[in-house]
Symmetry: C2
Subunit: 303 residues, 2 copies
């Protein structure tokens, strides 16, 4: 999967290949829907398979491309990150959180099944993600795999994704300044996007300090850009295009980039972050083309 | 912590020492209540610290005593298992699950805080548990630590604890036979108790096939005994003694050992399982005294 991601059609092909590879890895990592408890396993597969842009897996593979990481290892790491992401969506959609009925164009898990099942789906997906990272078939040395578990665990923790969710909860109806909004998103979305980039790179080799710094700068820029664009789309797109309920932030009285900065400055910020992401990986040359095209895709997406 | 657990006072001292050691490890593993997000971190510490019998940590230390496992490693493994257990209680108490207001003699997390916080507390505790198992300070080789992550991840998964919870949900109002009830508990409670024993042993050394089998037999017997006694206590004790709401199973129309077998046969089953547990570890000699005394404690407890 080290194809010509620098040409437009090359990138589209690369993206489709990564998505198919990750879909297969996810289908393989998740317990069969025929195994007991059947309803829980069905619901886990419903929550994870057959949908989503797979931004995090794409980041894993794009970062892995810098260091010729083997596909098997990347697919496992990507599946693990995507399971963490999927669990967070299932829990985030619950009535006691965002209370959302639509996700990836389908009824959310608690609507399709029930709240208790949705709770267990999220819980079990998190366990499954860590289990996936311990698979010996990845071909990665145990010490490196353990590092990857640690990285993902902290990214998902109360000092990462869960912490961002908690700050988000506390911020409903509050007037956050830009710095506070950015801090929330660095945890809520940024931590897992950052982990995706690092996991992909670690599938290839032990990183030098300079590589780590460059990738961290890339991940930071892309992570924020992702959220700025999310806020723009929530304010401007319709639910059918988004595959989830549009206009939620304003309805929920949540602070967003659009509510704090305005629409046009938010678009300009996203563009600036896109260029920051490109600049961060300049030293990697053509091998970083997938990372560059992903930054473009994240900023220029329509849903 | 390899003291004379075979004498009555020796066991009480050993138990108190392990509990204090694990409490310190948990306090240390959990993010400070002064760090952002403060409310989430407070709630995580509320859910975990200062309560509980610490049965799983005691099993970790008792199994570790067989192979002279170092205290630092045992404390970390015990903290990890206890965080998984604590997260499962927080989620289990939520209104969409068991809807319980009392746990360990205190208001449950969603009552003391709110449902969204309780959801995130559970989610973040699960991540923190896996993070704890990756700590290099344990002194355990990375390959073994990775095995321990895998063991705990599968024990907590939809093929373990979460799976048991799902079967439990499906069984409300249903008439389970004894085999189905046992299967549910082998997943719901048994998987994590089993993991506790194995993690403790692995802190000491790579296990031989025969040791694995003996410990698995012990864990199976103790795991089932634990649940049988839980059912007996739910039917016979009061809420103050239990520290949680008594009589819930009958009120919820849940199948239990008492409802299927009757009270006296349940007590006899628990006693038989206690003897099975003793028999399973006979070959380990005096080193298995903590495991024996724990089996006694689990069967003879009053809450």
């Amino acid at each position: 999967m080290s194809l010509a991601a620098h040409s437009v059609s090359g990138f589209a092909t690369w993206t489709a290949q990564v998505q198919a590879t990750v879909e297969a890895a996810l289908a393989d990592s998740l317990p069969s829907a025929a195994s007991v408890p059947v309803r829980l396993h069905e619901a886990m597969r419903y929550a994870v398979l057959g949908g989503g842009k797979r931004v995090r897996p794409l980041l894993v593979f794009a970062a892995g491309a810098l260091f010729n990481a083997p596909v098997t290892a990347l697919a496992q790491a990507a599946a693990a990150v995507e399971m963490i992401h999927a669990y967070s969506l299932v829990h985030d959609d619950l009535p006691c959180m965002d209370d959302d009925a639509l996700r990836r164009g389908k009824p959310t898990v608690h609507v399709q099944y029930d709240q208790a099942t949705a709770l267990l789906v999220g819980d079990a997906l998190q366990s499954q993600a860590f289990a996936a990272l311990t698979d010996a078939a990845s071909g990665i040395a145990a010490a490196r795999q353990l590092e990857m578990v640690r990285l993902l665990a902290y990214a998902a923790s109360s000092c990462g994704m869960c912490g961002g969710q908690a700050i988000d909860l506390d911020s409903v109806g509050a007037s956050l300044d830009l710095a506070a909004l950015e801090h929330m998103h660095r945890l809520k979305t940024g931590a897992l996007l950052h982990a995706s980039v690092m996991l992909g790179a670690w599938c290839g080799k032990a990183l030098q300090e300079a590589d780590m710094k460059a990738l961290a700068a890339y991940a930071d820029a892309v992570g924020l850009a992702f959220q700025v664009v999310d806020d723009v789309l929530d304010a401007t797109a319709d639910s059918v295009t988004l595959g989830k309920t549009a206009g939620k932030d304003a309805a929920d009285n949540k602070p967003t980039y659009v509510s704090i900065l305005g629409l046009q400055p938010s678009l300009e910020l996203a563009e600036r972050l896109r260029l920051d992401a490109h600049a961060a990986v300049a030293s990697f040359g053509a091998a970083a083309d997938p990372l560059r095209r992903l930054a473009d895709m994240i900023v220029q997406r329509k849903n």
